[in-house]
């Protein structure tokens, strides 16, 4: 297990190194010079050159790459071209919204999907299964911003349980913060839960057809006992894969939900900095997202090994 973890860790580091080079190169290729963009089209060439020097755009590319990587190790992501504030601070502020939101949504989606998927699989073809599958079909088909608007209508405007948008900040207290994230998290979680429940169901159905389920029954386990003791854990592998993918999506892909609820999250930051050619912010956020995707994959790999002993001994 330790050997397996170390190997996965090595491959994590290599992936990160490769990803950082790719991101740097791609951003460099992208058209638009930040200095001329900041100064506008009527700027004097000398002014642009001076700003380029100030921003550190005139040194060789490989040196800028090393500075960028070295800075990240020290927590220095550079200074935003547009806002003239440290990128690290900007990202950290947004992360305090996006990360809890993503985790909240993921927890909700898992809490809904597991029971729904297991219930549907254990009643395959019966009315309960048909009902759950119908609901998930709806969940997959309906876009999350529509859910968001419906939730706002019902719970914020009519019932007034939650506010319709904005984020109060964690300074207002944990529960107040969670409360302002609840509606966004639910609208993010519903479509994800629908997908996850379907994966859980089909994965479990595959397992229920396996020989060892029949062996379990021959030992005297009831259908229900066999399902819980031998089915669920074996069915988890594809489910874990989807959970990993969903987390990465939730962290950065929630821009529409952030817009609907006026949340200062990472998605909006990326959008704004791309439109204003604030390449250093884009670079840093993309690197952060790549890091989180790779880290989540690493965690999913570890979870695989916990679930399936066959992976632990594979060298």
């Amino acid at each position: 297990m330790l050997r397996y973890s170390l190997k996965r860790l090595m491959s994590l580091l290599i992936s990160l190194a490769v990803a950082s080079v790719v991101i740097f190169v791609v951003i460099e290729i992208a058209p638009g010079d930040p200095a001329s963009f900041m100064l506008g089209i009527n700027a004097q060439p000398e002014t642009v050159a001076a700003l380029r020097t100030e921003l550190g755009l005139d040194v060789p590319k490989w040196q800028r790459y090393l500075d960028w990587i070295g800075g990240m190790f020290r927590g220095d992501f550079g200074t935003s071209y547009t806002y003239r504030t440290p990128v690290a601070e900007m990202i950290a502020d947004r992360l305090w919204v996006s990360l809890p939101l993503a985790l909240f949504a993921l927890a909700l989606s898992t809490l809904i999907a597991f029971p729904a998927g297991i219930y549907a699989a254990s009643r395959r073809g019966q009315p309960g299964d048909v009902a759950v599958m119908g609901a998930t079909q709806l969940g997959v088909a309906v876009p999350n911003f529509w859910f968001a608007m419906m939730l706002v209508l019902i719970f914020a405007i009519n019932l007034r349980w939650f506010s319709a948008g904005g984020f109060v900040g964690w300074e207002a207290g944990f529960w107040a913060g969670m409360r302002s994230l609840t509606l966004p998290a639910v609208s993010l979680a519903l479509p994800q839960a629908a997908i996850l429940a379907r994966v859980m169901r089909s994965s479990l159905l595959d397992i229920l057809g396996e020989d060892f389920m029949r062996t379990a029954r021959a030992k005297g386990l009831s259908r229900r006992q066999a399902l819980w003791r031998h089915g669920v854990r074996n069915a988890l592998i594809p489910v874990l894969t989807i959970i990993g993918l969903q987390f990465s999506f939730l962290l950065a892909g929630s821009i529409i939900i952030e817009q609907v609820f006026y949340l200062p999250g990472l998605g909006r930051l990326v959008f704004q900095s791309i439109s204003s050619r604030d390449l250093i912010v884009v670079e840093s956020v993309v690197m952060l997202l790549v890091f989180s995707v790779i880290l989540v994959n690493f965690l999913v790999d570890l979870a695989y090994a916990l679930v399936d002993p066959r992976l632990r001994t594979r060298t």
């Binding site: 190997k7 090595m10 491959s11 290599i14 396996e210 020989d211 060892f212 029949r214 062996t215 379990a216 029954r217 021959a218 030992k219 005297g220 386990l221 009831s222 006992q225 003791r229 031998h230 854990r233 074996n234 679930v307 399936d308 002993p309 066959r310 001994t313 594979r314 060298t315």
Partner: protein, 541 residues
């Protein structure tokens, strides 16, 4: 009094009759073998006793275990009986165990689910049972996972789970069919020993009549859901009354006569061939290991000769087959067909490839279900530079189908309309259609019922006479290899350990491995002479 009494068991699934008035009984300490070909209902009989029939099945009659009728029991009561009073062992040991739980937990589960013992004692009992089935603590601690065990070892774990609570009745459904002969012999010995030690009744389901004759006290022969004949083994072997029983035993020992092979001229030459597989790297930058699946193999197959290749699973037979077909390159050595290499410049040599065809084991998996038979068997034409078209193509298809005993108008059908035996005929037609110089039969009759197998063997003998076939017959089944080959190669761990005329090798094996293989293979008793014990000589006077 008997332990298990099945009386007039009838079973239907969606109004399709599966079993009809099946009656049989098992006494304590008795081994009763239920035999028959696929579709005879033997497995359904076993599942009916376990109460594990598919949900849509309707059973009538009586299944009396120790005085209580199992068909009247509720599902909860059946859960209490399964594992405790009846244990069951299945066919496929590779998939019968939960891959994510340790063998100790899985054996102990039988005990725990019946609340027979507290957890620590259950683990202790699991240990004892595993010891009993031949998995000692030193090499097989309770913390082992199934994937760390071989097929035979896994089957021992399955048996341990079934006998952990010393059930009075053990049901074994084809317990050794998926195992190699030497492993099969060990598992059968284990089962016999358990029956003798515990006084269990054993209801054994198997299609293998040699195993049946060797193991059973009584034999029940089934066909199409009906018991056609049953009786004490010795008696039944001596006095088979039903023609189906006689046919089964004859087909199991079917012999064919091959035409004399022509004077030897080499067709296929395999010279010092080695085939390595890369193992996963030991570390990220570590050296990748190698596994030598075929190790320095050399042999010559002469034109018109029928050569056998036998060996247990993992010995390298299939790897060698793929190399001969030019599907994979070899790491050293040469494979020549008619003097030309089968693999040149990273791809199969097409000029050579069109002289070879192959027939695989699985008659169900080796055809594209969406193509019609004419398209399926005409597939090898793509190897030819100018494939026949129009009527020439149709004539070739019709001829190939006729040659294998099918009708030319079968060409328009889909593969699902054919039985397993007919599909294997179609596979042979597909191989024959371009008149290859060499055919490889890779376990080509292993998945077939004995009566169908006998027909396919007859077909092969006929084709040998008509088409002067040259073939390499790869199989784990020694009795079949013995009858359809002139010469045989015995393979063990990637090496050819013995080679010789088939009859010589079988009557006087020289290599210890060949001797072990032949000794382990269950044999049908000679049915010509009635056993002495059945006809005790009456004292005169």
């Amino acid at each position: 009094m008997s332990l298990l009494d099945i009386e007039n068991l009838c079973l239907s699934i969606h109004r399709l009759d599966i079993l009809h008035n099946v009656s049989l009984s098992v006494a304590p300490g008795e081994i009763v073998a239920v035999t028959g070909e696929s579709g005879s209902g033997k497995s359904m009989t076993a599942l009916a006793v376990m109460g594990l029939l598919p949900g849509s099945a309707k059973a009538t009659g009586r299944i009396v275990l120790d005085g209580s009728d199992l068909l009247d029991m509720s599902e909860t009561d059946m859960c209490a009986i399964r594992g405790q009073r009846v244990g069951m062992v299945f066919q496929e040991p590779m998939t019968a165990l939960n891959p994510v739980k340790t063998i100790g937990d899985q054996v102990a589960e039988t005990i725990l689910v019946h609340d027979a013992l507290p957890r620590d004692q259950a683990m202790q009992r699991a240990r004892e049972v595993l010891d009993r089935v031949g998995l000692p603590a030193a090499r097989f601690p309770l913390s082992r996972y199934p994937h760390e065990l071989s097929g035979g070892q896994r089957q021992r774990v399955v048996i341990a789970m079934a006998i952990a609570l010393r059930p009075k009745l053990l049901i074994a459904d084809e317990p050794t069919t998926a195992l190699d002969v030497t492993t099969q012999a060990q598992i059968l010995d284990l089962l016999k020993g358990l029956v003798a030690d515990f006084g269990m009744g054993l209801l054994m389901i198997t299609h293998d009549l040699a195993v049946v004759s060797d193991m059973a006290d009584r034999i029940v022969v089934m066909r199409h859901g009906v018991v056609v004949e049953q009786g004490a083994t010795q008696h039944l072997l001596a006095h088979m009354t039903h023609p189906y029983t006689r046919m089964l035993f004859q087909a199991s020992n079917h012999q064919v006569t091959l035409p004399e092979p022509p004077a030897p001229t080499p067709l296929l030459q395999v010279q010092n061939v080695c085939r390595d597989y890369r193992l996963p790297r030991s570390g990220l930058f570590g050296e990748a290991g190698r596994y030598r699946a075929v190790n320095d193999v050399s042999f010559t197959l002469n034109r018109g000769e029928r050569l056998g290749l036998v060996g247990e699973s993992g010995c390298g037979k299939s790897t060698l087959t793929r190399a001969i077909l030019g599907l994979e390159d070899v790491q050293s050595g040469r494979i020549l067909l008619d003097g030309a290499p089968v693999f040149t410049g990273n791809r199969p040599n097409l000029a050579v490839r069109r002289k070879m065809q192959v027939v695989f084991q699985d008659p169900f998996g080796s055809f594209n279900p969406r193509h019609r038979v004419d398209r399926l068997i005409a597939e090898p034409f793509h190897l030819l530079a100018s494939p026949p078209t129009g009527t020439a193509r149709q004539d070739a298809i019709a001829e190939a189908l006729t040659a294998v005993g099918l009708r030319p108008d079968d060409a328009g059908k889909y593969i699902h309309e054919f039985s397993g035996g007919q599909r294997q005929r179609i596979a042979i037609a597909r191989a024959l259609i371009i008149r290859p110089e060499l055919i490889l039969f890779d376990e080509a009759v292993s998945a077939l019922d004995v009566s169908v197998r006998a027909q396919i063997l007859d077909l092969m003998a006929d084709l040998c006479a008509t088409y002067d076939l040259t073939y390499l017959f790869i199989s784990h089944d020694l009795s079949v290899v013995r009858t359809v080959t002139d010469r045989v190669l015995v393979m063990q761990s990637g090496k050819i350990v013995e080679t010789g005329q088939t009859e010589d090798v079988f009557t006087a094996p020289r290599h210890p491995y060949t001797q072990a293989l032949i000794a382990a293979a269950p044999r049908l008793p000679d049915l010509g002479a009635a056993p002495e014990s059945d006809h005790p000589a009456r004292p005169i006077g």
